[in-house]
């Protein structure tokens, strides 16, 4: 038999003592977060037709986590967002090597409401949970569910997790007849995830996870003038999250990496780093930086090609081009008794040349946006 490290063995036995063990939530927590998302307007010179004002989103999120009896916890999440702005309908590859965007004519206004309801049962060395999700906007509705389990091993120093989720979505594009759009489309998403969390020592934790998602149905964007994507997509992700606490600095380093690949041909890398510094016991400041880079999809076209048959896969969606982006931000939180106030700011900037496998030409719709959030947590 392999000899167990004494610290691991003793800590495991200590965590089973009732006055020390406290995994599940013991008091209810109410959270509220309000966010403002603003996309930078598109330069008029690159617009062939339509409006240059892009999306603004106001989002409010509410969450209540509460213990239910001895071994259960419940979690209710409600979010509402109001969006307005124009979105790209297509691109035109001009003879002068300049590209032009065709934007939606008028400002689009939409509201989206999402409700998630979850429950989790805690046992001595495991926990099992379920989630029901429902979201609705003018042209889109989704229903879903998820199940997951977590199992503690090696005296609670390792945790294995596994989950499955399913979502059934329906899109009914507005003005379908007027613009010759598809009247109704359906999409089903199945996702499997597995993870391993390892406590390395008292100050560091490593999470490794893998997930596989299969999407089937209408994956094309019905609002674009010419957008035909395969009706099935398989995605894989591999992620690592590392947390290291530095006692002498009273700070924690969060380092994350994610590798993504799908059979549309997109491979992406996401690397993030955050430094969560405590100043005194109440104030926390966390500057963060994230780098993202993706390669273009196999059927990505810089300019829409109307000579291709509609059944041939092609898309000029900037999100399928090869590009890179950076997100720089900071979160500040302040604790006051049972209250915790939070505020954050992020600036996102994307560019063709930032990517590891940039597309031949820069897509004019590549985004820059800012995101402000403010909210609170309250223990009740």
């Amino acid at each position: 038999m392999k000899k167990i490290n004494p610290l691991v063995a003793l800590t495991g036995a200590a965590l089973a003592l009732p006055a020390i063990a406290a995994d599940q939530p013991t008091s209810a927590k109410l959270s509220f977060l309000s966010s403002t998302y603003h996309e930078k307007d598109i330069k008029n010179s690159t617009i062939l037709s339509g409006a240059g004002k892009r999306y603004d989103i106001e989002k409010n999120q509410f969450r209540l986590v509460t213990p239910l009896g001895e071994n259960w916890s419940g979690d209710l999440y409600v979010s509402q967002e109001a969006m307005s702005g124009a979105s790209p309908w297509g691109t035109f590859d001009g003879a002068d090597d300049e590209s032009s965007l065709i934007m939606s004519g008028a400002t689009i206004r939409d509201k989206r409401t999402q409700v998630n309801l979850s429950g989790r049962k805690y046992n001595e060395d495991s926990s099992y949970g379920f989630t029901l999700t429902r979201s609705k906007e003018d042209d889109y509705s989704a229903k879903g569910f998820g199940v997951s389990g977590e199992w503690d091993l090696n005296n609670k120093l390792s945790t294995v997790s596994a989950g499955f989720s399913f979502s059934d979505d329906e899109i009914k594009p507005v003005d379908a007849l007027k613009f010759g759009r598809i009247e109704k489309g359906k999409k089903q998403t199945r996702s499997f995830a597995a993870g391993w969390t390892q406590i390395i020592n008292q100050n560091s934790i490593l999470f490794t996870g893998i997930s596989h998602t299969v999407k089937q149905g209408l994956l094309s964007d019905p609002y674009k003038l010419r957008d035909t994507r395969p009706s099935k997509k398989a995605e894989w992700t591999l992620s690592f999250k590392y947390r290291q606490y530095f006692e002498n600095r009273n700070a924690a380093l969060h380092a994350d990496y994610r590798l993504y690949n799908d059979d549309f041909g997109v491979t992406s890398h996401t690397a993030g780093i955050a430094w969560k510094k405590s100043i005194g016991d109440k104030l926390k400041i966390a500057p963060r930086f994230r780098y993202y880079s993706q390669s273009e999809a196999d059927f990505y076209a810089f300019g829409d090609n109307y000579s291709l048959a509609k059944t041939e896969a092609q898309s000029s969606d900037h999100r399928l081009s090869g590009f890179g982006s950076t997100t720089t931000g900071v979160q500040i939180s302040y604790e006051l008794g049972k209250w915790s106030m939070k505020m954050s700011f992020d600036r996102y900037s994307s560019k063709n040349s930032l990517g590891h496998a940039e597309s031949e030409k820069e897509h004019p719709a590549l985004l820059d946006f800012t995101l402000w959030s403010a909210g609170f947590d309250l223990e009740i």
């Binding site: 610290l7 063995a9 003793l10 800590t11 089973a16 003592l17 020390i20």
Partner: protein, 290 residues
């Protein structure tokens, strides 16, 4: 608890801190009542009195503590043994000569954690005269429990000190760490090292505080449960861990070994430690801070 206990807490509302102090007092008394071998109504006394007669019903907490003691027994290769308390009859303040072979043998027969039978419902010592003693476990566990109570009450600054077993609630109110002096094992009233701590737990075990002197030679109170004779161990060990109970059993086991083995044990636990060798040399990661 049989030793001085201190609670240092800082906060904005005095009434809240007073309430917490009172809850701590009640909680500490509760542990004492339940696990002290000096009290006739404790669960420990019941188990000891029923030794060789009948099993005693136990609750989930006592079962978890016995489980913890079993892990200590296994990890220490049998040197940390909560049934070894009977050796106190041979080594105490009145001892003036080395115990006889016969006395030792008679006591050693009543020792052995592996003889204890227990499950989640009951515990049974099979030999009349056998005794359990939660020294080295319950005081440290109580420190962890009181610190957890503080956190539940949203108290963020302070520490619990139960006779030298320290569980930190959080730093001082100005964010500064607490400072602890480690007693000099030879010169009374002097410290040999200083340790700073803002979270976690710190415990120190020393063989120098309680000892028996026979013909000019000092024997510590830390006895080898296999031979009945004190160890020639390091003089003192201090360890920082997340839980005081873990730190406490690691320092105890360090002293329940000959010097070299004790140092190897401390090294194998991968925790910050300070060990004082018989020649007064300080070693370990905490010694290097000095």
């Amino acid at each position: 608890m049989g030793s001085p206990c201190q609670i240092h807490v800082m906060g904005e509302k005095k009434t809240e801190l007073d309430e917490f102090a009172e809850e701590c007092r009640q909680q500490a008394l509760g542990f004492e009542k339940k696990y002290s071998r000096y009290r006739s109504d404790s669960i420990l006394t019941k188990i000891n009195r029923s030794a060789g007669k009948k099993p005693t019903k136990i609750d989930a907490e006592t079962f978890a503590l016995l489980n913890y003691a079993q892990v200590c027994y296994e990890q220490s290769k049998g040197f940390f043994d909560i049934t070894s308390g009977v050796l106190r009859n041979l080594w105490n303040a009145e001892t003036v000569k080395f115990p006889s072979e016969r006395d030792l043998e008679e006591h050693l027969n009543k020792i052995g954690f592996s003889k204890l039978r227990f499950n989640d419902k009951e515990a049974f010592l099979p030999i009349n005269g056998m005794e359990l003693d939660f020294g080295g476990i319950v005081k440290e566990y109580a420190a962890d429990a009181l610190a957890a109570t503080a956190r539940k009450r949203n108290i963020s600054f302070g520490l619990i000190n139960l006779g030298g077993d320290i569980a930190i609630i959080g730093p001082k109110a100005d964010g500064a760490p607490w400072q602890f002096g480690i007693a000099h094992p030879v010169i009374k009233g002097r410290t040999i090292a200083t340790i700073q701590l803002s979270n976690g737990s710190l415990t120190t075990s020393g063989g120098y505080e309680r000892f028996v002197e026979i013909e000019g030679e000092r024997y510590s109170h830390l006895l080898n449960p296999k031979t009945g004779v004190p160890f020639k161990s390091i003089l003192s060990a201090s360890v920082i861990a997340d839980q005081a109970i873990v730190a406490g059993s690691i320092t105890s086991i360090a002293l329940l070994n000959e010097e070299t083995d004790g140092l190897d044990w401390l090294e194998s636990c991968n925790l910050p430690y300070l060990a004082i060798k018989k020649n007064l040399e300080c070693i370990g990661s905490l010694a290097r801070n000095e």
